[in-house]
């Protein structure tokens, strides 16, 4: 009898241990791909990661072919992609941040209204929308009516992706602020507008700014919607009505062009550096200005 109890306890403890080990093992395995990807991108990308990458535009496929045959490094860089990304994402920030902030404030200030519930629901719907569908929308809204691909169309697509993220982070942050902040402001005779701009927004700065940074880092690498809207260009372009390139679009072009494929890794490396930098700054901001 006592023997039976002993084996039963042993088997329970054994099972307990086994599961513990499996959980640790699989959690460890889940982290490996990150390092494999980073290693791949860094080890293949650092060779072409030089000053040319930032100062010259994409070479033509022909020039690259000749350089490849002579064993020279590929002439040219990805300046057109860098400026394009700045233009398209910058414009998207300009559109999405003010609107997103206002919607976020509205949602946190009108929690119990039916209309706010509906808006909140639709925000979730937008957030879950596949990026390629957003590309189609921007194509239908901007590319078709204006008669051509443009940086503006790309910005509209990215705006639609950033908006729900900014709305959510603003709303969540403001909801966490104690009601006494607002009450104190109003009790001192401040106007509602001044309470929002001088008390609520500054107190929630950390959370809101973090949300914006994360939204930027998320759309920085978006490729699919830009393929249907901004299309790409081989020159530096600052005109919002013209087709424009972007870093992820260039990566896609390089991937499809056997002559330029060497550049794929250095541009991916740059893209990852930008994205991780944004994530890192977001983390610091979140820690420093904790609500």
């Amino acid at each position: 009898m006592s023997l039976n109890i002993k084996t039963s306890i042993d088997s329970r403890n054994g099972k307990n241990k086994l599961i513990y080990i499996l959980v640790c093992l699989f959690s460890f395995l889940a982290m490996i791909p990150l390092f494999l990807i980073l290693w791949d991108v860094v080890s293949k990308g650092y060779k072409n990661f030089n000053i040319n990458l930032f100062t010259e535009v994409t070479p033509s496929s022909m020039d690259a072919l000749i350089a490849n045959m002579n064993g020279d490094p590929i002439p040219g860089g990805i300046l057109n992609g860098i400026t394009g990304s700045i233009l398209i994402v910058g414009l998207a920030i300009l559109f999405s941040v003010p609107i997103g902030l206002f919607i976020g404030i509205y949602l946190s200030e009108n929690r119990d209204k039916k209309f706010a519930g509906l808006v909140s629901y639709l925000t979730d719907l937008l957030q879950g929308m596949p990026s390629i569908v957003i590309g189609i929308i921007a194509y239908a809204w901007v590319v078709k009516p204006l008669g051509g691909y443009s940086a503006l169309a790309g910005s509209v697509a990215l705006t639609m992706m950033m908006l729900p993220m900014i709305v959510r982070s603003t709303e969540e942050t403001l909801k966490m602020l104690p009601a006494s902040y607002k009450e104190a402001g109003l009790a001192l005779g401040s106007s509602y507008t001044s309470v929002v701009f001088n008390i609520l927004l500054p107190s929630g700065f950390g959370g809101i700014f973090t949300g914006i940074l994360l939204a930027i880092s998320r759309v920085m690498g978006e490729t699919a919607p830009l393929m249907l809207t901004a299309l790409g260009a081989s020159v530096v372009n600052w005109d919002v009505m013209e087709p424009t390139s972007a870093l992820p679009l260039l990566i896609w072009d390089f991937y499809n062009d056997p002559n330029l494929v060497e550049l794929v890794w250095s541009s991916s490396l740059l893209l990852l550096i930008v994205i991780f930098l944004l994530n890192w700054i977001a983390k610091i901001v979140a820690r420093k200005w904790k609500v």
Binding site: R12, N13, K15, N16, Y20, L22, V23, C24, F26, S27, L29, A30, M31, L34, L36, I37, V41, I99, I103, I105, Y106, V119, L122, D124, L125, L126, G128, M129, P130, S131, I132, V133, G135, I136, I137, Y139, A140, W141, M160, L163, S191, T193, V196, R218, G221, E222, T223, A224, M227, P248, W252, Y255, W265, S268, L271, L272, I275, F276, N279, K283
Partner: protein, 285 residues
Amino acid sequence: MKDKIFRFLLFFAALIILLLTAGIIFALVSRSTEAFQEYGIWGFIANPEWDPRPATEEYGALSFIVGTLYTAFFALFLCVPFSLSVALFNGEYFKGKRISSFVRSIVDLLAGIPSIVYGLWGFYAVRPLIIDLGINAQGFGIFLSSIVLAIMIIPYASSLSTEFISMVPNKLKEGAYSLGATQFEVIQNISLPTARSGIVASYILALGRALGETMAVTMLIGNTDRIPKGLRDTGNTMASVIANQFGEADGLKLSSLIAIGLLLFVITALINMIAKLVMKKVASI
């Protein structure tokens, strides 16, 4: 007066979301009517033919719907052991410990990597493995895309389930421990059942992500316009066929591609709605 204007501006901004949604639905529906009028809604959905040659032009979405479901569900299946482990690691075994925040930030970084970089990595690093294993001669196909997709959705599936697992009240667990349960028995009989709805919801949301993923899949699935015969076969998903063929499309083909976009939108919206309903159940506990 100033306050009134400000309040109105806030309301107007919120109205923009409403207008956006209406505009999205209008744009998708109006631009896909051509395809739906030609084939009928059901005729378009159930037709496996996709033939862009002008003489025999015919478009149907079934091959891509099947391809999408294949890749997404297989990816979900592959990601479960990993994301559940990460969730238990962070929410139960090492809850609140330093190592847990380390694991969490590593997994979060996985979510930050753009889809196109996953595609590159899948093409150059994973595809040779698939060829070596003899799964598929070219390496491309459902199998390859699902593996990469599974890695991509691990952060989405695990971060939300971690929240729900760590929300399980301590007194429930303490009760079980006091009766002599081992940690695994507590997880099996208390934590997982209590957090079940939340975990299910997080996997549904991860599925939604997998359904709409575009670039990585486009680069890895092989892009063939027919119903895939199995996991080893090549195919196309709804998102990848749009990404691949949108550029050169016009007329009926363009309308058919937008119709596929509309279907994809409806499917992901439904998936998100279901996840929300399941999560509501959690909130009511």
